[in-house]
């Protein structure tokens, strides 16, 4: 009999000033967040917050940063971390079992995004997936790539590395609404370019890109397209089979309720990639290293939840909660006029975003800022700068991202906190002049 897990402890256990959850799991103590301890006191010493429990201290509204682990995903991967531990490359029974598990996971991943199993390359996370998709195209002599101006650092910094190696990197601009300027893109893309890179949906604004149109432009010029779908997969349907041309996408399990360090590059374009990690030749030679079967199973389970039959209903519920939140807060919404990920809100508060984030944090609500303060300098996010949002407005951005576990009560709490904070922040800001 496999390990059994009950996600919620029936009664909250008070730990160091607030209630949290501790669960019994297979004879050991587990805090929400998957800290497994031999003793209860040890578990209590490393308190984690249960994001689903009614008694949790934290209302987690930072799902775009990472999604709380979904217990179904955790449960699916646990056997592969325990008794089904074999190396898929070995011919013995355990190895064959692992190979079968891996193949099954790969098939499910492929079918959930409309791709072939052979077009799935598992990686050690989303950043590695983006690195493979970009560096894997930098074959031979330096050439040219087109990269959108709002890419995640996993793509942007990688492109900068190529620029230092002599590659020409053309930046595709966005419109003030956050969408890629398709007319500019049409002019920018040239036959012979090594790659076009556009993220499927922005991790900052949540704005969804017209990927079908972009893929058509790339196919017209016979240029491969890479779509960073790391953020998109949690909130929009992915259907690779409908896209023309050589396309790759990047995924990361942790944005979907899975573990960190699990990602994938998927699509018909993978066959023409060069590897960036060398060794035993796993993943069709594109990603050496003993396969992470548990990770593959987790990614499949997470995609099943986020891309499966029940996903559309959950997404529209999330979008409705987000719309309600935005209407009640009455703040300026970035990208409001175009399609955004459900549950994704980037709001301009008029006050410093990181200050607002800290004030929410102190009231038990986890959100994030649109711009990070780094050693005495608050740099506006490049995405907002690319959208012609001025620096002060950009510094005032907060990002509230809902997930499948978000409730109407969470929204009420955000509205209540903001109703309390806004007048005080206004007084503070006015008195600073």
């Amino acid at each position: 009999m496999g390990p059994r897990l009950s996600w919620h402890h029936p009664k909250p256990v008070v730990l160091g000033g607030g209630p949290t959850c501790i669960s019994r799991f297979d004879g050991r103590w587990v805090t929400a967040g998957w800290n497994i301890s031999a003793t209860r006191s040890e578990a209590a010493a490393t308190p984690r917050l249960c994001v689903r429990c009614d008694n949790a201290r934290v209302i987690y509204l930072d799902h775009a940063a990472t999604a709380p682990p979904d217990p179904r995903v955790v449960e699916a991967m646990l056997p592969h971390l325990t008794e089904r531990f074999g190396n898929p490359s070995e011919p013995h029974a355990l190895g064959r079992q692992a190979r079968a598990d891996l193949d099954a996971a790969r098939e499910e991943i492929a079918s959930l995004v409309g791709a072939k199993p052979a077009d799935v390359v598992l990686t050690g996370g989303g950043t590695e997936a983006d690195n493979l998709a970009v560096l894997g195209r930098a074959q031979g002599q330096p050439g040219r790539m087109v990269v959108s101006a709002i890419e995640h650092p996993a793509v942007r910094r990688t492109a900068e590395v190529l620029a230092r190696r002599g590659w020409e990197i053309a930046l595709a601009p966005v419109l003030p609404n956050g969408r890629i300027d398709l007319i500019e893109l049409w002019d920018l893309v040239q036959t012979g370019d090594a790659l076009v890179c556009v993220m499927g949906a922005s991790n900052v604004t949540g704005v969804v890109q017209p990927i079908a149109d972009i893929a058509a432009i790339c196919a017209e010029h016979a240029v491969p397209l890479h779509v960073d779908h790391v953020q998109t997969a949690a909130g929009a349907e992915l259907e690779l089979s409908e896209l023309p041309g050589r396309v790759t996408i990047a995924l990361a399990a942790h944005k979907l309720g899975g573990p960190r360090g699990v990602g994938a590059v998927i699509g018909s374009g993978v066959e023409s990639l060069d590897p960036i990690v060398f060794g035993g030749g796993q993943e069709g030679g594109l990603r050496s290293g003993t396969e992470d079967v548990a990770g593959a199973v987790a990614l499949a389970a997470a995609l099943r939840i986020r891309q499966g039959a029940e996903a559309p209903a959950e997404r529209s519920q999330r979008a409705a909660l987000r719309d309600d939140l935005e209407a009640r807060l009455g703040l300026s919404v970035v990208g409001a006029e175009v399609e955004r990920l459900p549950g994704h809100a980037l709001l301009l508060t008029g006050y410093r975003g990181d200050t607002v984030v800290r004030l929410f944090d102190e009231r038990g609500i986890a959100i994030s800022a649109g711009s990070a303060c780094a050693s005495g300098e608050t740099l506006p996010d490049v995405t907002l700068t690319a959208m012609d949002i001025d620096d002060d407005a950009a510094r005032s951005a907060i990002r509230i991202t809902l997930g499948p576990t978000t409730t109407a009560a969470d929204i009420d709490a955000v509205v209540a906190v903001w109703t309390e904070l806004a007048p005080a922040l206004q007084v503070a800001a006015e008195a600073s002049a």
């Binding site: 200050t355 004030l359 780094a374 005495g376 005080a424 922040l425 503070a428 600073s432």
Partner: protein, 468 residues
Amino acid sequence: MIDLSRAGAVAQPDGEGRAGGGRCNDRVRFTLGLVGDRLEQVRFGADACAATTAAAAWLAARAEGGQLLDAARLGLAEVLAGAAIEPAGAECALTAVDAFHAAIGDAVARGAVVSSDPNRVVVAMSGGVDSAMVLTQTVAEGHEAVGVTLRLWIDPEAPSPERACCAPSAVRAARDLCHQSGMPHIALDLRDDFRATVVDPFVAGYAAGETPNPCTTCNGAFRFDAIDRVVQRLGAATWRTGHYVQLVVQAGTPLVARGVDATKDQSYMLALVDPEILTRVQFPLGARKKVDVQHEAAEQGLAAANALESQEVCFLGGGALAPFLERQGVRMTPGPIVDEDGVELGTHAGALAYTPGQRRGLGVSRGTEALHVLRIDAPANTVVVGTVGRLRRREVSLRDIQVRADVPRIDACFRMRAVPVAGRLEQGRDGTGTGTVYLDADAHQIAPGQVAALYDGERIVAAGIVAG
């Protein structure tokens, strides 16, 4: 927790301070409401990042209801610990600390009075090693030391404004030293006064063809007046500085005398200090050698021991005179360089940037003679040059003469640490403070606007400004 309950402003504040700007454009403002020397109300405004806002809110909560001088003891380290700000946020929190201390300094400048304490001593601090040592010595003697630093104007366009002795970083260094000893620190923002009292006359003097010495004006009048004004308000009877000078009381009048360390003697700079102020001032380093002081500071691990030495004419910020004068609106017009017979020998880029005695950079010659600047004819925009012999003077007329002690013979100094020349002072009879110094030997490089310090042995018995 960031406590926003003290966000706002005191309607008619007794003290107000701001800080901010910079690349992230954070802004913090404090306003204080005083009842006696108690901070009845402390309000803050912040349009700033989380660390800055948290620091401001914590300072307001911590200071409100307490004594002004206790608030002046609150430093960055205490703020970081109290407001739970991570080290990466220190730079941000500093903005709030700066604004808070600006408000306290403003309250003192506006006349806030602290109840007096016979054990309290004010230490004038520049941020450098000397005043730091005076502070530690004063604390070691068991006094409550209150550090006072003047924030003075520096040309922001100077090449290295931080080299100036009263730069923001120097004010912070002095403040940190006080806070490390648990002592209060008051920074007085005198940038406007300094411009009006020291910089503008300096610029005007040059524009009129003089060679004024701003350091004697600053030390001799401006700084001593400014600090002495607040000493009593801070509840202290005496105050100290780190100047290398001694005091000698003669017939009831305190006279500035040379410091024991001849190479660091600063008595010339204090020639103009009002004797009435000197009755309250002590110079603990006057009997010491600078090298010993530096040694001791290094042994005590004083950060200021390695600080940049401020230089003369601090507000030039390490830059040259001519570009500074031009930035201050003094027009530099090319004109003739002539000898005393009016023979044109060359051209200059602007007469006002030349100093009598100057030899280098003239680019003119007359035979094999080495030519020096003899004088500047400002109205004619002409530089007059001649041989070094023409620079020798036996008679120097003075204005604004102050006589502290009547002596028949004096030793005259016209520059800092110059070799004194013996002579006598003859005062004018019209009571306008003019007179003439008659020297026994030649004196060199004397320019109008310079201070003449007249010594009797080690003591300065009279001082005046060179008129011609």
